[in-house]
Amino acid sequence: MLKSSPANLASQGLGEALSIRNLTKRYGANAPAVENVSLEIQAGEFVTFLGPSGSGKTTTLSMVAGFTEVTSGNIFLGQQPIDELPPHRRNIGMVFQSYSLFPHMTVFDNVAFPLRRRGLGKAEIRQKVGRVLDLIQLTDKAARYPSAMSGGQQQRVALARAIVFEPQLLLMDEPLSALDKKLREQMQLEIRRLHKELKITFIFVTHDQEEALVMSDRIAVFNEGKLAQVGSPSDLYERPQSLFVANFLGDSNIFRGHVHTESESHILVNDCGRFFAPRSGEMSASGSAAISVRPERMRVLPVATRCEDANRVVGRVSQIIYIGSSRKVEASLPDGTVIQVREQPRDQVEVQEGAEVAICWPASASTLLPVHQGANCG
């Protein structure tokens, strides 16, 4: 729905880098809402803050916007420290979850609002508003009031209003959560395209991991006020560094046990067998650990078949779920834990519910994660 932007609008809005250094927010004597968060965001980057509610992602965003006072730490936009500035002097665009369009103003007046605050002339305002309304394809709705528009249209107006004054940074606080699934997916791609065209820095907050994977250059995963991990979507998905990240982004099968290291690989031992994972530098040579395996990296084979892969575990098929593009097989291991396998049609071998099967995966599909204690098969 977004049209290609005129060249002049795209060229003006070059983003600034955002540097968050040792940011902490404490409310009274409670555990800090945000604790020692440091994050360098490149100019023009699309970074998503992902985490469950109460993880500190929204508080961090609110400190960047200027609505929440920083307890300690600093925020720099480009070279300028901004944590002491009031919100209206930060020159940052923001899109709210509830759109927050001014209900007593028309679409035109809503979009013109930031330009009028900056004292622009009438002709210039008309021109700039016209340009962004054209960009979001709502030129014909300029005289409408927000209440006479659909949720998707309101969200596009909110976007237009947040970028019309050419901020170097755009914050979006769960902007799509009020839309239905189809519209949400459409808006995700549009925001992504808008980001490419405007080249400004985007920070997008969501609790929806799928949304984060689709949209971001990098994802910052928050958990309990701290940054759990920062990385590209594929980094986080394929190389999670903690159990939390492995579980929060996509589905994972977790095997816990005792680890020791050989020359080539880590070997995790528990009651179900020995599991191989590629060697990763940071892990200690021995102790409690877990390995995480994505369901789509595993294969289900008849129990008599020999496995070509390094890892093999035997279980009984408890459920086969047909999803159309793939098949999900759930199998319970001897100790009762259930693991999931997702297979493309061409990889599928005929299996029956209740049958004993072998589940195989290569060592490279295992990611070794630190855990404090516990052992289970899967």
């Binding site: 923001m94 709210f96 001014f102 930031p114 605050r117 006479a148």
Partner: protein, 300 residues
């Protein structure tokens, strides 16, 4: 029972058509006592009064002679004008006090919110006579106010019997009528709208003037209208706190009846007061409806 309810939507239209009027009769029946009460004690006296304003005329005079008398007697018009300006003064005073008070109430949490609400509603729980006597005690020449001023070395002032005393007394009674509608309107404003305005570059004062004030305006107008209209009919407070020279409309209506037994003329004056009130309320509601329509129209 449950079975019957479960089956209801499946019943034929005919059954529904028969059931519906019955229901309507029951609802009307519930309203009969209050309708009778209003008919006997509100509409009947009101209509009698309006009828008297055109029938209770001196012999040989026209039906509108009472109204003619009202508009030709200069003192009537002066008092009518004074009543309007007093009402306006009370309204301005109330709104100026009520707006920040409603704002504080909106921002307050828990016990503070209840405390402010209590202060707002306090006048409702104390009889008007008691309150007016309290103001007499406070405002009289040797009253509490002048005692306190004396302690501070300020010369005594004479307030009782002036327009100021009447304004203060009336404003105190009418304050809740201004605070509650304003509070109601403020509470509906999404706090993110103010945040959005700030993010878009509006200084806090500009965000207030451009976003918060216009969105709370319907409540402000509703409160102001209520206070103004109620002020027009005040009798006791101006009688107790004001002077005879500053009498208000209700007082001269009462004098026409109690001293001169001029039922026709007093009826005409009461009718004029009623019509004035209706005109003001109509204009006011058209004004606020315009505002509401703009921000609440339905999608096409």
């Amino acid at each position: 029972m449950a079975e019957v309810i479960a089956r209801m939507p499946l019943e034929s239209d005919a059954t529904h058509r028969r059931a519906a009027p019955k229901l309507r009769i029951t609802r009307t029946a519930l309203l009969i006592p209050v309708l009778l009460f209003f008919a006997a004690f509100f509409f009947y006296p009101l209509l009698t009064m309006m009828a008297r304003s055109v029938t209770d005329v001196p012999e040989g005079a026209g039906a509108l002679s009472n109204f003619q008398w009202f508009f030709t007697e200069e003192s009537n018009l002066r008092i009518f004008g004074r009543t309007l300006t007093t009402a306006a003064r009370v309204t301005v005073f109330c709104v100026l006090v009520a707006y920040p008070m409603a704002y504080a109430m909106m921002r307050a949490r828990g016990a503070w919110k209840l405390a402010i609400l209590g202060v707002v509603l306090l006048p409702f729980w104390i009889s008007t006579v008691v309150r007016n006597f309290a103001w007499v005690v406070i405002l009289q020449d040797r009253g509490v106010l002048n005692y306190l001023l004396g302690l501070g070395g300020v010369p005594a002032i004479s307030i009782l019997g002036t327009k100021t005393a009447v304004t203060i007394g009336m404003a105190q009674v009418l304050l809740p009528f201004a605070v509650l509608p304003i509070y109601n309107a403020m509470q509906r404003i999404d706090p993110n709208l103010i945040r959005a305005a700030l993010m878009l570059g509006a200084r806090p004062t500009v965000a207030f003037l451009k976003v918060f004030l216009p969105l709370s305006a319907p409540g402000l107008i509703a409160g102001a209208l209520l206070v103004f209209v109620l002020s027009l009919g005040f009798y006791l407070t101006p009688a107790m706190l004001g002077s005879a020279q500053d009498a208000m409309f209700a007082q001269i209506i009462f004098r026409q009846i109690s001293e001169l037994l001029a039922w026709g003329r007093s009826s005409a004056m009461a009718t004029i007061l009623l019509l004035t009130t209706i005109v003001i309320l109509t204009v006011g509601s058209l004004l606020t409806r315009g505002m509401r329509n703009r921000s609440a129209s339905q999608p096409e």
